[in-house]
Symmetry: C2
Subunit: 203 residues, 2 copies
DNA sequence: TGGAATATTAAACAGTGTTTAATTAATTTT
DNA sequence: AAAATTAATTAAACACTGTTTAATATTCCA
């Protein structure tokens, strides 16, 4: 039946409209400072309607959260052509940081904010699927590096976490404006300079 | 005159009481979820009174912020006896992480949350004094390390930022519950294991 | 066309940070 | 000591917030 299909589509459309408006506002003025009424105003509907499409504000957040991970993992796809694990690792770091610096609010949503993660993995103890997939790419690369003789005496899981921590630290301190302590002449490029320093350390 | 002094002291006392109540609640249920009425309830005063001692909620946050930095810098004092810069750097990392893991909510307040930093350095462009002091200790240690021949071809500012980023990343990903991606058998000790991996990389 | 289902809304509820004017208490001045 | 002044404290209000409810408008199918 094409009719029910179209109905479904139209329903999906409004859902999409809500999501788009929410995204704009969330990334513009932050999640906390965006109210349901703000979203409703923007799409020219009453606030109540949103609750027909999303359980609550957190569910909207969660939908955008997933969207962000999809975008990031798409950007990581180009890595498959890089054979050398160390080179791939470095390229990975660059992509990660580029994504974070180009979409700071989305990065914030994905990795810094706290609110709604319970939503993400608490349900059915499925352990944060999106994030797990992304981290697995890093883990595999590290494992291959170890197998190829890089980083002797290291162990994959803690090394992978440490690598992730470094790139996350570089961008999150910057996003959350803790870089005021950095020498002003170095501040502008401190994130990529820090990444280079890390690469130098990796060898 | 002792009388005005005592008055001053009594005034300070209520301020201290507010601060203590706010701290308890902030660290118990988070800053966002603690309302001014909650604080007022706890000290058995009306909500309005708080505004006689603090401009707004942010100012309370800021006061606790400073307190956290004082505590952390006190813990760093023992470092002065360590001569070798690399050893001192490692000890620094351990203290930093220990502080963060023992006071996750305070750490969150100091380095992860975003709200009130404008308060901290925007006033008089004095550039985030507390944080600057703490970072300077790291910077000095790194500079000494470079002077002593450690980390050849590295440069102090970006290296210092990278080191800070790594330890911050290690703890902040953990505090903000992004460690669900880590192998469950390794999860409990992943922060200190990650730190060890970093130390191994430093040499 | 009438009845059922759905979409949408207006209104209410309990909460928020903050400001205001009023009230109580303390201090100083007469 | 009494009155006037100042400070401390409060109750009430304002304009918000997320969410729920019952009522209304719209659409669909028989």
């Amino acid at each position: 039946m094409g009719i029910t299909d179209r109905k479904e589509r139209e329903k999906e459309e409004l859902k999409e409209t809500i999501l788009k408006a929410a995204k704009t506002l969330f990334l513009e003025k932050g999640v906390e400072k965006t109210s349901m009424r703000n979203i409703a105003d923007r799409i020219e509907y009453s606030p109540g309607i949103i609750y027909h499409y999303f359980k609550d504000k957190n569910e909207i957040f969660h939908a955008l959260h997933q969207e962000g991970f999809k975008t990031l993992s798409e950007k990581m796809e180009v890595l498959s052509v890089i054979q050398d694990p160390l080179e791939r690792l470095k390229a990975m770091g660059k992509i990660y940081i580029k994504f974070a610096m180009e979409n700071p609010d989305m990065y914030d949503l994905m990795f810094i904010k706290e609110a709604p993660l319970c939503h993400v993995f608490d349900s059915e103890k499925e352990e944060w699927i999106e994030g797990g997939g992304a981290f697995n790419g890093l883990r595999m690369t590290i494992k291959q590096a170890l197998a190829d003789g890089y980083f002797p005496a290291h162990e994959s899981e803690s090394l992978a976490y440490m690598v992730w921590s470094t790139v996350h630290g570089l961008v999150s301190l910057n996003i959350r404006k803790r870089c005021e302590v950095i020498d002003i002449t170095r501040r502008e490029n401190i994130v990529s300079d820090g990444l280079d320093a890390f690469f130098k350390l990796l060898g």
